[in-house]
Amino acid sequence: MEFKLEAHRIVSISLGKIYNSRVQRGGIKLHKNLLVSLVLRSARQVYLSDPCPGLYLAGPTGIPTVPPPQQPGEPVAGPPSGWGEPPPPSARAALPEPEPQPQRPSVCHTPGAGSSEPVAAVAGAGDALRGGEADSAAAAWGRVERPRAVASGGGSDTCPEGPRAVRRPCGCPPAREEQPAEDGSPAPPAPCPRKRGAAGVGGGRAGCPAAPGSTPLKKPRRNSEEQPSTGEEDTDEEMETGNVANLISIFGSSFSGLLRKSPAVGREGEEAEESGPEAAEPGQICCDKPVLRDMSPWSTAIVAF
């Protein structure tokens, strides 16, 4: 049980760090947030796998199994360390991004030196830009809240059929693989458009056959920050930290996966895959009262943010 408490504490601290990073001066630090997200996932795995009496309804073997560390984009449980290999170059090239040449004049202008307002302005503007995510995060909180209210009002002995066999029909891994096709690009073009600058020592654009229609493709929802810029080739590349900001909403939805009896509907992508495995874990589909009791510290932590 101490592991669970420790894990819970670490999750709360980690969420706090991710949240605070959004308003930190200098922008979101990718490295730090990546490390925090790794801790978050480890802690969550421990929390979910720590056997506690009364928490799980055991499966046929009578022993709750440790959930495999599912990764977005990986159809099956990978190696225990959990982190998959980087996608093959062809997959990467399938979704080229609008990366302008650095010699284009910057669209950004430096302000007068010593402006003291920026910090507050950044927080406000940053939140406005990320309003999309905030909305979906709020929606995730809502999903957590509602099932809890329903379940506590109703009966507790709800146990659906075949817990282990249930996979959410959204079939996220196949969806992910299909993504490039959905987005309309033909066979993945040769990996190349990462070179910036003129021809010279092996570099340059000369050797890069652009795939027809390789205009920037909009990835579903994930790059909501980038969408304003995808229409214009001139815009600088956005620092992609949407995955960081989305971790909070992912966490919210994974709890809803724990509580919901029916497969989750809603956003596809990582969020769905995150809650998918949880939904499939033996016994955790059942909204037992002990589960709900244990859940309340979690929702308190989330609501606090």
């Binding site: 670490i10 801790v39 977005p72 996608p87 020592v201 994930r222 815009t235």
Partner: protein, 422 residues
């Protein structure tokens, strides 16, 4: 003042100059005094030579991002004429600065007087040639090149190539190669950004060129690995030539295993045969010819292993310590907490812990070795782990290229220590 916190320290190639950068975007250069013949035993001291504002805070209105002016790294170019050149970088922009001396000024203009006011031409009856007269030494720093708009993520390293014509800058996901003369374009030589950012598993944490082979460089990752790349192999060095990784010790696994294995600094030895890496608790030396494990591992402050959760809470676990070689590659040095720094002699396998603080070091005083008590009875001079001040951290140190002179940055103070002359 938070703006005075030193964020980088670097000797130039001769050791005559020492540059520091701080959080406020300033660069301060110290110069070593010439040793006078009268005082043979008085070693040259370092005095302030030049101070200038390298970077200013910027605000990117389109992305609503503030760009910090903090100087992340300074690297000197080898001296090729009377002027000195250095690269300084913040999170987004690298600048080449020229630092030059002016000790003469022209006097005796015809058309203007000494204050620069124009003379009435009607009053001029004779002509004279202006002459150069000595003046008080003035050191001026001018920005010669600005290399901007090439990094989407935060720049963590710059490294000058041994060809002295190019240099590289590395951010979390990409490394770019620049020519000093060309500011409006750069070559991307490493790109580890995944097509889908959710699949991001590691970032680049440091990068450096080989000291002699201009085609070779290394970069370290947040996963504790180092990749050595050869630019002759392909234009985009996404495939490494060598891959250095030590298998994880499963008995040490914890929530924070990934964080503490993230490499915060990588440095080639002067010989070019070894690389040294720093992660949160250790310094490791790797032989370029052996990829599967380091040849030496030194524990910097292993007593922190049981405190990782608290260090995670107070963010100390994210501190990025640097490491340095001495001129002969026989001793390595790195910082710790409580203003302690550690030196490891690779030959004798002896190590020492020293402290950089005003109270403990008066000029000419000899530094006393310090010891952290890990448990049991604490001896008189020892300090217990729980008494360590984690706000006093030594992240940046530098070692003179040929002599036993070290520079240690302790928050907003710079300490320079020299070997005692017998």
């Amino acid at each position: 003042m938070a703006a005075d916190i030193i964020s980088t320290v670097e000797f130039n190639h001769t050791g005559e100059l020492l540059a520091t950068g701080d959080k406020g975007g300033r660069v301060v250069i110290f110069q070593r005094e010439q040793e006078s013949k009268n005082q043979v035993h008085r070693r040259g001291e370092y005095n302030v030579y030049s101070t200038f504002q390298s970077h200013e805070p910027e605000f990117d209105y389109l992305k609503s991002l503030e760009i910090e002016e903090k100087i992340n790294k300074i690297r000197w170019l080898p001296q090729q004429n009377a002027a000195y050149f250095l690269l300084s970088t913040n999170d987004k922009t690298v600048k080449l600065w020229k630092v030059s001396e002016r000790d003469k000024r022209p006097e005796g203009y015809n058309l203007k007087d000494e204050e620069g006011r124009l003379r009435d031409p009607a009053t001029i009856t004779t002509l004279r040639v202006p002459v150069l007269r000595p003046m008080d030494l003035m050191v001026e720093a001018t920005p010669r090149r600005v290399f901007a708009n090439a990094h989407t993520y935060h720049i963590n390293s710059i490294s000058v190539n041994s060809d002295y014509e190019t240099y590289m800058s590395a951010d979390d996901l990409r490394i770019n190669l620049w020519n000093f003369e060309i500011t409006n374009q750069s070559f991307n030589i490493v790109d580890i950004k995944p097509a889908n950012m959710e699949e991001l598993t590691e970032v680049i944490t440091a990068a450096e060129f080989h000291p002699h082979h201009c085609n070779t460089f290394v970069y370290s990752s947040s996963k504790g690995t180092i990749r050595l790349c050869d630019m002759r192999a392909s234009a985009l060095c996404d495939r490494h030539t060598k891959f250095f990784e030590e298998p994880e010790d499963p008995s040490n696994r914890s929530f924070f295993s990934e964080i503490i294995s993230s490499i915060s600094d990588v440095k080639f030895s002067h010989s070019g045969r070894y690389i040294m890496t720093r992660d949160y608790l250790t310094v490791k030396v790797w032989d370029l010819n052996m990829e599967n494990r380091p040849i030496e591992t030194y524990q910097v402050h292993d007593y922190l292993r049981s405190k990782l959760c608290s260090l995670y809470e107070n963010d100390c676990i994210f501190d990025k310590f640097e490491c340095v070689w001495n001129g002969s590659d026989s001793v390595i040095m790195t910082g710790s907490y409580n203003n302690f720094f550690r030196m490891f002699d690779r030959n004798t396998k002896r190590d020492v812990t020293l402290e950089a603080s005003r109270e403990n070091s008066k000029p000419r005083a000899i530094l006393k070795p310090r010891k952290v008590c890990v448990g049991g009875k604490r001896r008189k001079d020892e300090i217990s782990v729980d008494s360590l001040d984690f706000s006093k951290k030594i992240l940046h140190t530098a070692w003179h290229p040929s002599e036993n002179i070290i520079a240690v940055a302790a928050t907003n103070n710079l300490y320079i220590f020299q070997d005692k002359v017998n």
